[in-house]
């Protein structure tokens, strides 16, 4: 039988334990609660476009709390450069991240940061929707393709050796779990976003076993998801048809290297990397990023175009099931580009980044009344 104060103290401790346990268990999905999202502004134009996105989100009253972290590599206790543990903890805790462009210095002591983040958080699928934007016309009008690319293995496993002088061997690794994961995700994405067809891109006539395995996993996933149409095409056929008639394809799923080339090809069809959003989905969360460079020549001059980062943030909202907010912001962005008065320099206009952002905020506030 304990004295009064002791009882209160113990009750307090038990309560704290319960609450922290609940927090650790991820109980933070109340719709009225604001979710915390890790923000990595990046280098070059990164900070300005991140600020633009934050401004637009607050104008749209999105229930998100931003947690900014810096991923400049620091020397760890073992002497190797790595991402600072604070950043890793942040993304692990929040499960969602938004990343601006990062600079990979040549010849320095650390690997590409993009690759490090990908490996660290086990981001297995890279999703890149490419849609023709009204108002920024390219030679291709009717592009509406989503490329889903396996992000962890394949040709980019980095396993290379020089067998004899002058003969180099590079190993392409395809595993069943990874292929199955990405195939399943492709069908899930198609269903969640109202897509009707998934095409598996491969070269199984040449690389029989490896791409054969990938194809088998895709076929099995197709059987589990009979409501989505499935077809398989050779890589060369897809390339040929993509530049002639992009409307033939809907969602494409493929291993790493083909995905890299095809996703950049599709980005080129709609106007380049400055307008393309991109998301990396992992098992415990996702990181959304803009794929363009840091553009150091226009950094700090209010000339940057935040569209890529903004559209990636919209993808993030959809991932978090905040569909209404996503649609409102996306509409405002497309309309602003279509109208043409506030286009930034890379789209052929003269507006400043801040003017573009303000116009979008204005449209959102008009919409929300």
């Amino acid at each position: 039988n304990f004295p009064q104060e002791r009882q209160v103290e113990m009750a307090g401790r038990v309560a704290k334990f319960l609450i922290s346990g609940a927090r650790l268990a991820g109980v933070r999905h109340y719709s009225s609660d604001a979710r915390t999202v890790t923000l990595i502004p990046g280098d070059g134009i990164g900070p300005e476009i991140s600020a633009a996105v934050q401004k637009i989100f607050s104008a749209a009253e999105v229930p998100i709390v931003w947690e900014e972290v810096d991923v400049t590599p620091v020397k760890g206790p073992d002497g190797k450069f790595g991402i600072p543990p604070a950043a890793i903890d942040s993304v692990n805790r929040n499960g969602i991240g938004l990343k601006g462009p990062l600079m990979t210095p040549v010849g320095k002591g650390h690997r590409s940061l993009n690759l490090a983040i990908r490996k660290e958080f086990n981001l297995y699928a890279n999703v890149r929707p490419c849609r023709s934007m009204e108002g920024y016309e390219t030679l291709y009008r009717d592009v509406d393709v989503v490329t889903i690319r396996e992000n962890t293995e394949g040709e980019y496993s980095g396993i290379e050796h020089e067998i004899v002088d002058g003969v180099v061997q590079s190993i392409k690794l395809i595993t069943e779990p990874a292929s199955r994961r990405v195939a399943e995700y492709a069908f899930q994405y198609a269903r969640n976003n109202g897509r009707s067809k998934v095409t598996a891109v491969h070269k199984a006539n040449i690389m029989r076993m490896s791409d054969g395995l990938f194809l088998r996993c895709c076929r099995e996933a197709a059987e589990r998801n009979p409501d989505i149409k499935f077809e398989e095409k050779y890589l060369d056929t897809v390339c040929l048809n993509m530049v002639q008639d992009p409307s033939k394809y809907d969602v494409l799923v493929m291993p790493n290297l083909y995905g890299d080339i095809l996703s950049d090809l599709c980005a080129g069809l709609v106007g380049g990397l400055g307008l393309t959003p991109s998301g990396n989905i992992g098992e415990g969360g996702a990181v959304f990023e803009s794929v363009h460079g840091t553009a150091p020549d226009i950094a700090g001059q209010d000339k940057a175009n935040p569209t890529a980062l903004l559209l990636s943030a919209v993808m993030m909202l959809r991932f978090m099931n905040l569909y209404n907010h996503a649609t409102i912001i996306e509409q405002a962005c497309f309309e602003t580009i279509k109208e043409g008065n506030f286009r930034t320099g890379d789209l052929g206009g003269k507006a400043k980044c801040s003017e573009f952002t303000d116009e979008i905020c204005r449209k959102i506030q008009e919409r929300n009344g």
């Binding site: 390219t138 030679l139 291709y140 040709e155 980019y156 980095g158 290379e160 050796h161 020089e162 002088d165 002058g166 003969v167 180099v168 061997q169 590079s170 190993i171 392409k172 690794l173 395809i174 595993t175 069943e176 779990p177 070269k203 199984a204 006539n205 040449i206 690389m207 029989r208 076993m209 490896s210 054969g212 395995l213 890589l235 060369d236 056929t237 390339c239 040929l240 048809n241 993509m242 530049v243 002639q244 290297l257 890299d260 080339i261 996703s263 950049d264 090809l265 980005a267 080129g268 069809l269 380049g272 990397l273």
Partner: protein, 387 residues
């Protein structure tokens, strides 16, 4: 005399085969196409003024196209006899071996695409095996926009030189642990040197100004790094040609935005596949372009994008121009320039003046319409000449 020459040819062929790897030195100034990078002429089977060429119709639209080729050759009076060997996806290894021997004997082949049998992981792709066994290390694709064919880009004139035997197509795969498959991509210095030198020689021979190497050395540092390094060192020997390099995904983006910036492109096997299909799509489709495969001793000609065309086979709607262009390339290789010009002129007239286009070019004509028009033009042009 003929038999003496024949035996001399075959003797020199065997000799070259046994010599193994040779370092390519200067290119002799003999007949242009025959002695491109080999230091001795290509052996060809020429008996009594007529050439013998192996023909492999393959699967899909191959057989019909080959029929058209033989027909047109008859009307144009081409002194070529075809030795037809049927290799389909169901052929045995023995039949395939016979086809190889035939090509080695004749030195030149015209080929359709052989479909791969799915599900059988042990037999490799027949097309790829053919290329590696005959050591056809260079695949040359000349992509040029046709004036009357609708395409989004105009003024495209790109030569794609693709390494044809190694790289990702080595077909060396194994499963060490269940569910984990490794596939090897092999790049050798010798292979890269050969193809780089071929590219620069080609550029000089055809008056081109720029060679671009396409790679992904930022990710595959050792393998594509070796390829790039080799290209750079060969580039130093040709200071009059401008050399640059570009990463493959950037290349694809630039190709769909502004393809006019490229001149000659050289690349390893897989990127060659992607880039050649992208460029073929840009200039108007797989129905028009022809691809040439050159080795040290053999040359094989086929449609550029290597499609079997199974979906359009037997319906009289396939475009015969690709196969006819390959046949013309073959004639140029055999130094039958006048015949090649005759047929090319007829094709040109049919496409650009009479505008007889098949479905893939946006028209309504059948394959037979195109072929018959070509034959009419040839007949009109050869009315006054006699054989």
């Amino acid at each position: 005399m003929a038999s003496f020459t024949r035996s001399l040819c075959s003797f020199s062929r065997i000799n070259l085969g046994l010599q193994g790897s040779r370092v390519l030195t200067q290119v002799p100034n003999l007949s242009s196409r025959r002695t491109f990078t080999a230091s001795k002429p290509f052996p060809v089977a020429q008996y009594g003024g007529r050439f013998t060429v192996t023909m492999l119709p393959g699967d899909g639209i191959g057989p019909e196209m080959m029929g058209y080729v033989q027909n047109i050759f008859r009307y144009a009076g081409v002194p070529v006899d075809f030795e037809v060997i049927q290799i389909t996806k169901n052929s045995t290894d023995d039949e395939f071996e016979n086809a190889m021997i035939c090509i080695r004997r004749n030195g030149v082949a015209l080929k359709g695409s052989i479909e791969s049998k799915y599900g059988n992981a042990s037999s490799g792709s027949r097309n790829a095996t053919l290329r590696t066994q005959l050591d056809l290390f260079a695949n040359v694709l000349h992509c040029k926009t046709y004036p009357s064919i609708q395409s989004r880009h105009s003024d495209v004139d790109i030569i794609i030189i693709r390494e044809n035997t190694e790289g990702e197509y080595s077909m060396l795969e194994h499963e060490n642990v269940k569910g984990v498959i490794e596939s090897m991509k092999i790049i050798t210095r010798k292979g890269s040197e050969r193809i780089a030198r071929y590219a620069f020689e080609y550029a000089i021979r055809h008056g081109r100004k720029k060679v671009t190497a396409v790679h992904k050395a930022n990710i595959m540092k050792l393998s594509d790094g070796l390829f790039l390094e080799t290209c750079r060192s060969i580039a130093k020997e040709y200071p009059e040609i401008e050399f640059s390099d570009m990463i493959v995904d950037n290349t694809c983006m630039q190709l769909v935005a502004r393809p006019q910036q490229f001149d000659v492109m050289v690349m390893p096997n897989l990127y060659g596949n992607v880039v050649s299909n992208v460029v073929c799509g840009l200039v108007g489709g797989p129905g028009l372009l022809s691809g040439r495969n050159y080795g040290e001793h053999f040359a094989v000609f086929e449609p550029g994008t290597r499609n079997t065309g199974a979906s359009v086979a037997g319906r009289n709607i396939a475009n015969p121009v690709a196969m006819l262009n390959s046949a013309c390339d073959m004639l140029e290789h055999l130094d039958l320039q006048s015949h090649a010009d005759l047929i090319r002129d007829a094709i040109d007239r049919t496409l650009n003046v009479d505008k007889i286009h098949t479905a893939d070019l946006g028209g309504q004509a059948t394959s037979l319409d195109v072929v018959q028009n070509i034959i009419h033009v040839i007949q009109a042009n050869t009315k006054d000449s006699s054989w």
